[in-house]
Symmetry: C2
Subunit: 212 residues, 2 copies
Amino acid sequence: MTDLVSLSVRDFNVALASDAPAPGGGSASAAAGAMGASLLGMVCRLTLGKEKYRDAWEELERIVSAMDVSRATLLGLVDEDTRAYDAIVAARKLPKETPEEKAARKKAIDEATILATTVPLQTAYFSMEAVVNAPAVLEKGNPNCASDAFVAALLLSSAVEGALANVRINLPGILDAGLAESFRSGAAQAAGRTAEAMTKVRALAKAKELTA
Amino acid sequence: MTDLVSLSVRDFNVALASDAPAPGGGSASAAAGAMGASLLGMVCRLTLGKEKYRDAWEELERIVSAMDVSRATLLGLVDEDTRAYDAIVAARKLPKETPEEKAARKKAIDEATILATTVPLQTAYFSMEAVVNAPAVLEKGNPNCASDAFVAALLLSSAVEGALANVRINLPGILDAGLAESFRSGAAQAAGRTAEAMTKVRALAKAKELTA
């Protein structure tokens, strides 16, 4: 199959809307995160090189490089998420006649479930890593792009929250309690750091009259 | 130029990240809204025809058709938003030597600003029209797709809020006070109805353990 991110925006949406369960919310969350990282990168680019924002250059130089990496990583996760879902479906279809087959199938489902949990956890983690830069970009970036930085933060925050919902639905299927607990704690950390960044973003957005 | 929605998801993100101010947050908001509408449509499709969800069929039949229309409309707005921005840039470049030229340029900028305000207002409105269906889809749709319905609601809500930020930045440039006021009131209405839907969505998401 063609990579999802090689589809046109139009056809990617058709694929999301179809009655195939994948691509679904996990891939859409990663795509939203990629758009957020892209937009933060754009705001940095429209600030760098402009003399009157010179004080912000050093910080935004660092952020623009990080956002290019985030964009590429999150685009990769759009496809990873759908592949991980497909792996669960494939594992469930394995034969289950003999005790050996049953054991092999159970192991395959277990491994696929772990994969299908770590992929959205990565989407949440990398989107969180991007959104923590949003307050600095909104505060110090080119003010003509303030709404772009705000949209970026909203999309990244939704990507974190949406991806974490996909982590949580898989947790009951993780048989290793220690592993499940580490996923839960990783999820809580990503959610917490995102909420913290968004509190700053919302205060700045209100001050800049981007929200009522 | 090629339509933005005909670009691959990868290249659309490259365009967002580039140092060209458009496509920016307005187009990204519409794209996020389209993904949200697409996902709500998917959840409906994975519910319709399944006997055990028969009670929900009638309502979800209506929603799935509406979501297909929303998807197409919001994808159209991805391109409309960038065209509206480009029209402002073109108007600003008009000659301003003679009084006649100055007046014509002022009128062109004014008209382009009105267009650049109504486009994100449409994005906000159509995303709001979609998200008000999210509580029903999350509550009555196939429970295996609960996280998809939740992601859909998050993306649509971000689309509304992001598009409204793009409406608000243009309001000071609208010379007709009555028109500016009607835009402001339309924005407040879309924000209010979205917030109302999201309160229901968040309560359902918590009950379904999609959020902590």
